[in-house]
């Protein structure tokens, strides 16, 4: 599996996710600086967590307009896999690969804690090894994770079964408890929780590991 991790000024989970990918695939990903203008031939592009451009204007707004994102758009439109984690999810909504937007948490607090997620879509390359209704333990760490979509958009994405993960106990006011969302075809996933922070669970493999491993098995 060839993986690229896009690095923006202000990304801060890029190394964690690179380590996660290296653990699962045995090979470190390519780290791609946001100013890159040449094409990269990979199976999966990861937009990592952090505060790209200091969240100036809106979280993800500046990152979505950086030169490398044109390639990410082409990659996604050609059916390539894209995973946006936390700030990466915000970038995916800002660039229009996923519908809706992420607002400040309803409680106006930065939330950093483990949460329970319910898997609600398994027909994606990210979640194919899970079962519908299964619960995962993956932590969140965000200030702007309150997912919002206008009414008609929301009913469209629910009808298309684009919601991949829902919070068991909604921490941030997210509409319909949405924690992770895919595009219609399932090759683009945005999620607020951090799978790269759930690689181990006690002495066993964590649910984040399982997600990355699912991806690897799908691609191989």
């Amino acid at each position: 599996m060839r993986v690229a991790v896009i690095v923006f000024p202000g990304s801060n989970c890029d190394r964690d996710v690179a380590e996660a990918i290296a653990q699962v695939t045995g090979k470190p990903p390519i780290m791609v600086w946001h100013r890159e203008t040449t094409f990269f031939d990979v199976d999966l592009v990861i937009l990592p967590g952090g505060f790209a451009y200091g969240d100036y204007l809106r979280p993800g707004a500046m990152a979505a307009r950086s030169s490398v994102m044109r390639h990410v758009l082409d990659h996604a439109k050609a059916g390539g896999l894209v995973l946006g984690i936390c700030n990466g999810f915000q970038v995916l909504t800002e660039i229009g690969l996923l519908p809706g937007a992420l607002l400040p948490n309803a409680g106006m607090k930065f939330i950093c804690k483990p949460v329970k997620l319910k898997v609600t879509r398994t027909s994606t390359p990210f979640t194919g090894s899970f079962t519908k209704g299964q619960y995962l333990d993956i932590p969140v760490a965000h200030h702007d994770g309150n997912y919002f979509a206008q009414k008609d958009e929301l009913s469209r994405l629910e009808d298309n079964e684009q919601v991949v993960f829902r919070y068991e106990n909604n921490p941030n006011g997210s509409i319909n408890d949405i924690a992770g969302l895919s595009n219609v075809s399932g090759n683009v996933l945005g999620m607020m929780p951090h799978p790269e922070r759930a690689m181990v669970h006690g002495k066993t493999r964590g649910d984040g590991y399982k997600l990355f491993n699912t991806l690897m098995e799908t691609i191989r």
Binding site: L57, R58, A61, R65, T93, E94, P99, G100, A101, L103, P104, N105, A106, G107, M108, N146, F148, A149, Q150, E153, G173
Partner: protein, 80 residues
């Protein structure tokens, strides 16, 4: 020329910052405050003198970057 862009959350979109402001004002004794919505103002310095063209260009900027039309609305003022 100058453009003043006001960006505001659309009605109905939860604004926790606005709510916090209203709550803080109420706690200071300003009982007449029944709600608050927080937005942002962006001032742009522009070259040229054509107001109509400037408005058209600034509205395009709002659609492309300055506002997120999923959650926000904007208004544009062009000044000399």
């Amino acid at each position: 020329m100058k453009a003043i862009v006001h960006v505001q959350l659309k009605p109905g979109v939860l604004d926790p910052q606005g709510q916090a402001i209203a709550g803080a004002l109420a706690s200071l004794g300003y009982d007449e405050v029944t709600g608050a919505r927080q937005g942002k103002v962006i001032e742009l310095e522009l070259s040229g003198t054509d107001h109509a063209l400037a408005r058209e260009r600034v509205e395009a900027m709002c659609g492309q970057l300055l506002a997120n039309m999923v959650i926000e609305q904007f208004s544009v003022e062009i000044l000399d």
